[in-house]
């Protein structure tokens, strides 16, 4: 196939510079793709890219929105990255987010009218537990029944969102809501305080920063974090060293679930302020991309979440200004991950251009 034009030569050690260069290449390639796409759609590419990537964050309010959307992405991405490092493939964060929103929202509705400062903490604890409970199912099935956690965690996304829809269409429906499928608006005590005047940014962002700092300590400085990395990089060595594989699965899944659950509460106690049939525009899935683009490192995840948040804002702006469907966001997100994975080849291989003379690796027909 392509081997004749260029070939890959294994590096003796993974390149550190390529590891961080690759996301930048991917971003550049994604923007180039966007340029071509907008041009094909008959839009002025420069103006379109401006509307997509610059105008959304040209105002103070816009910056607030950027941080507001980046917060759940960074939180979930951080949790997922910890699991992915240990080769625990939790792709059901969207469901764990919904489960967290159900648990936290249930607390808010049950305590409605209570004006205690403990209402919010209770909601977040409930949300974390909800996410943990939802992530515990694939962890249990993987450790006890050997069932692939990718498939089970994804199936649980559908079940969680249906459960949320069932609740807001049923028992939690606002009696004064003109029959719309939505819960009552939460009381002030169940809403996160605003932290930046003139924007919608709330204290959830501080929680995310705290979680990311905690994750940095956990992955870079703790023994358990080290064990999880070993389990991911060299499963055989990990087993030999006595690292329990089921324990890694449980930790990886539950940390991801807790983060997603907290992010779910952050949404309903923040910008949404009530329970709706859908409480997330796919943050749980976008966070998978955030984790990879952020190189599974807490700081990288933080930066990647800003980029992914910008893609959400760009999609909304494209809808308003360019008359394009907001699903263009999903395309950009997918394209970014493709380019990233393709550019990652540079970490482990050198690319040599040109036809090789005497070929060792082309097999001779026996």
């Amino acid at each position: 196939m392509l081997q004749s034009m260029f070939r890959l030569e294994a590096r003796t050690a993974p390149s550190r510079s390529a590891k961080w260069l690759s996301p930048l290449i991917a971003i550049a390639a994604m923007i180039a793709c966007g340029f071509v796409l907008f041009w094909l759609l008959g839009k002025d590419p420069v103006a379109a890219l401006r509307a997509f990537f610059i105008e959304p964050v040209a105002t103070r309010y816009g910056i607030g929105e950027l941080l507001l959307k980046a917060s759940p992405l960074a939180l979930i991405g951080t949790g997922l990255a910890i699991g992915y490092r240990a080769n625990v493939w939790n792709i059901g964060a969207e469901g764990q987010l919904a489960a967290g929103a159900i648990a936290g929202g249930g607390v808010a509705l049950a305590l409605d009218g209570t004006a205690g400062a403990w209402v919010l903490p209770a909601m977040f604890v409930a949300g974390a537990l909800g996410g943990i409970a939802w992530a515990a199912i694939p962890a249990f099935l993987r450790t006890r029944c050997n069932a692939n956690e990718i498939l089970t965690s994804l199936m649980l996304v559908y079940i969680a969102t249906l459960l949320l829809s069932l609740l807001v269409h049923g028992v939690w429906r606002d009696p004064e809501g003109f029959n719309f499928p939505q819960s009552r608006m939460f009381a002030a005590s169940a809403l996160l305080p605003n932290i930046l005047e003139g924007t919608r940014l709330n204290a959830g962002a501080l929680l995310t920063l705290f979680a990311v700092a905690l994750a940095w300590v956990f992955t870079q400085r703790s023994f358990v974090g080290f064990e999880m990395r070993v389990a991911g990089l060299a499963p055989d060595a990990a087993r030999y060293a006595g690292i329990s594989a089921p324990r890694m699965v449980w930790l990886g899944m539950l940390i991801g679930g807790a983060c997603a659950g907290v992010a779910g509460v952050g949404e309903i106690a923040g910008p949404i302020g009530q329970l709706l049939p859908s409480v997330s525009p796919g943050y749980g899935f976008a966070a998978i991309i955030v984790a990879f683009v952020g190189r599974l490192h807490p700081v990288g995840v933080l930066l990647a979440s800003l980029l992914m948040s910008l893609l959400y804002l760009g999609g909304e702006s494209a809808q308003l200004e360019l008359n394009l469907p907001s699903s263009v966001t999903g395309m950009f997100q997918g394209t970014l991950l493709f380019f990233l994975l393709a550019a990652d080849v540079l970490i482990h291989y050198r690319v040599r251009v040109g036809v090789r003379a005497a070929s060792r690796s082309t097999p001779a027909r026996a």
């Binding site: 392509l2 890959l8 029944c145 498939l151 199936m155 249906l162 291989y349």
Partner: protein, 307 residues
Amino acid sequence: MTDTLVQIVVLTLAAGTPLVIAALGELVVEKSGVLNLGVEGMMLIGAVAAFIVTVHTHGSWLGVVAGIAAGAAMALVFGVITLTLKANQVATGLALSLFGVGLSAFVGLPYVAAVVEPIKSVDLGWLSRLPVAGPLLFAHNPLVYASLALCAGVEWFLFHTRGGLIVRAVGESPQSAHAIGYRVIAIRYAAVLFGGGCAGLAGAYLSLAFTPLWSEGMTAGRGWIALALVVFATWKPLRVLAGAWLFGAVTLAQFQIQAAGVDIPAQLLAMLPYAATIVVLALISRDATAIRRNSPASLGKPFHPET
């Protein structure tokens, strides 16, 4: 009574068909040692491509071809990234699914309210109108027959031909296959393209025959269920058939129970296929030896001749 039973069987086959087709494609891919988690994305792209082409050309068979081609094109992207550039197959498959969801929603938006001439069930004259045997055997959608032929074909190819033996050898031990002179990467490319074509066909069946319309995310997780079916079937084509029909029946039960007027919320019923997938996957995976004996040894591992 018989009529109702016949009706249930016919609808079960119709609901199971996209799962049969997509799962058989993925089975061949996995037999060659490649794990493509992008089935959901390829299926959606197949569905939307088939629908759009049919809207513009009024030819539903042209649409089917477009669906297959679009699925294969998506698979080609996956192939370039995982086979040529040696990227992680799990991550790339996820990317393919996420990308497929976004791209299909984007290009499909203007067609949400469009209508197409659906692919009609076959009509073999008096044969199709026989009592019981007619609807059971001679009046299905052409793609239902195609799925049966595909199953027989995959079974025959994988286990009764030299080509199938080579594909399986590549999946079990790419190093050995390479050493005796087979082109591992080229064979894997072929398998991945075949899987993409099948996923595209399954999508085309959804948007042109099963529910002839386009709506965002219309596959509703069927691509993921197809992936689970391959494990459920322990990589055996005939068991894919049984599993897919079982899931068809579960999907159907949801509508049947509702139609019967049982007072269960729609959302609870809609959970059935997903819950069933989890339960079945857990039960089948418990038998670790059966999984290990049947799953291709190199599944999901990249191959580079020099390592």
